[in-house]
């Protein structure tokens, strides 16, 4: 089994988000970066498939140069090699643009059996890069996957539907799956893994080398904090005092107790 797992590097969960002077993006100097949390489940699933069926896991990402650290993290956790399509533009690229770049890089690689992605990114939240990538690569796909079992020439997956419903789907190989968060428990990198990662191959491409021109098909015109939908009454003070006042408000103001 040869699996490509697509990873994105995103602003760390606890980053301070401030709109920059252009009014169209966040101040990147404020940000720390980490592997997109949903993607870590896709990586773990790829590693588990390799452990059962043998083969190779390649971690691929499109991002600025800093993204190499996320690929190294994947290598430290056990991926065999990395592919990075490097361009500053990717930090705010839309899903279609990113999928085009990933497709161009994967077409350069040997035929694989599976492509895995996370469900969505914690920054842009498009939730569609995998689906678009499948279309551009001409692969069948299934989304929001909570179980994967690889059989001879096909893969059986359990898809999550809404409101507690599920569905089993059978797909031929190769195909692309977007993995639901929580499908597994992602492993931590070991010290040995981190050491080994330094010597594992990382193939870098520029967009020029892949012959792709980056253009944005979704343009952010303005970025701003959301308008409050309600006027929140904030209660401050010692816990006992706050609790007593809240109960009073719930009883006599909101009348829900």
């Amino acid at each position: 089994m040869k699996t490509f797992v697509c990873l994105k590097q995103v602003a760390a969960r606890d980053s301070t988000l401030r709109v920059d002077d252009s009014g169209r993006w966040v101040r990147e100097s404020d940000l720390g970066y980490e592997m997109n949390d949903p993607d870590s489940f896709a990586l773990e699933e790829a590693l588990r498939i390799r452990e059962t069926h043998g083969g190779e896991v390649a971690a691929v990402s499109a991002g600025p140069a800093r993204t190499a650290s996320t690929i190294r993290e994947a290598l430290a956790k056990g991926a065999d090699r990395g592919v990075l399509i490097e361009d500053d533009h990717f930090s705010r690229a839309d899903a279609y643009t990113t999928a085009q770049a990933l497709a161009a890089a994967l077409k350069r690689e040997e035929r694989c059996d599976l492509v895995l992605t996370g469900l969505q990114s914690d920054d842009m939240g498009f939730g569609q890069t995998g689906v678009v990538l499948a279309e551009l690569l001409g692969l069948p796909h299934a989304t929001i996957i909570v179980e994967v079992s690889v059989e001879q020439d096909h893969v059986r997956v359990k898809r999550e539907l809404e409101a507690g419903w599920f569905q089993d789907v059978e797909l031929p190989l190769p195909s692309l799956l977007t993995i639901q968060s929580g499908i597994n428990k992602p492993r931590y990198a070991t010290l040995m893994g981190i050491k080994k990662a330094k010597t594992k191959p990382l193939q870098r491409y520029t967009t020029g080398e892949l012959g792709i021109e980056l253009s944005s098909s979704q343009l952010i015109r303005r970025l701003y904090p959301p308008q409050k939908q309600k006027e929140t009454k904030f209660l401050e003070g010692a816990a006992d005092d706050v609790a007593a006042r809240l109960v009073e408000k719930l009883r006599f103001e909101a009348r829900v107790l």
Binding site: G125, F166, A243
Partner: protein, 328 residues
Amino acid sequence: MSVLVVTEQQGGKWHKMSWEALAGGRQIAASLGSRVNAAVLGADVGPLARQLAACQVDEVFAVEHELLGQYSPDSYAFALRQLLDQVEPNVVLFPHTYQVRDFGPKLAASLGRPFLSDAIGAKYQDGELVFVRQLFQGKLNADVTLSGEPPFFASLQSGAFRADQLQKTETPAAVTQVEVTLSANDIRTRPGEPFRESKGEVDLSSAEIIVSVGRGIKDAENIPLAEELAEALGGEIAASRPICDNGWLPLERQVGSSGQTVSPKLYIALGISGAIQHVVGMKGSKTIVAVNRDSGAPIFELADYGIVGDLFEVVPALTKAVREAKES
């Protein structure tokens, strides 16, 4: 110029977000000064198409084929491409359902077009259609435009448009049967019948009071803190996705896009940041209380009462205060 709303049904039953998408479609069409049409796909959609026709639309397209009886991304994308070729709409709108997430971006990509997902609003401004999307887990909003030529594809978030704004019309719109060509060979995946796993023993949707926990609870050991508060209030305990993923509470207690949708009288969110996936499941609650360490957490955008602080101090105090109030 026309706006096309692609509705969703399964086994002859509407997905209720279809009506919200239709309301969104009407609003967007009104701002563009264009017609609004609706499409419904399936094996047998006659009765559904007639219902749609009475809902303030200009024309209904009934896309029928036996291979559309069971959803697959290939069959839906293939059929809709044929519909788009015939109708040539400028804007194509969908409800942002799991199913649309599965085929919508594929459909758009097959035409070399972007797909704007999960919009919470739309306006026509300076000659351009501007959509509003949430970024960074709902912490920031963005006004977004799509470049290039129509059709423009977008999906609308649950609750972003109000279905109750739709009215029934006395003269129904025309229903057009749309012929599509599909063969079994076009469908590369083999979908099974949908099934339900949990017995659905917990019906949170009828609960009047819900105490819900998120990542801020930190450890399974701390869940009883929230359970005691729920018990004191006579309410149900619920959780955001990460808590159920960790197995700290059963999956059937999950609120959000992949769990249950609730609208209790009182919803108390403990250590829940307010990511979109959770919010869509609880924003219809009458009164919302949020306790969170982070004053910038998006949950405070929709809370009626907010406590910025340590839930490990606040929750026991609250349980005590509720018990005292009930005894008095």
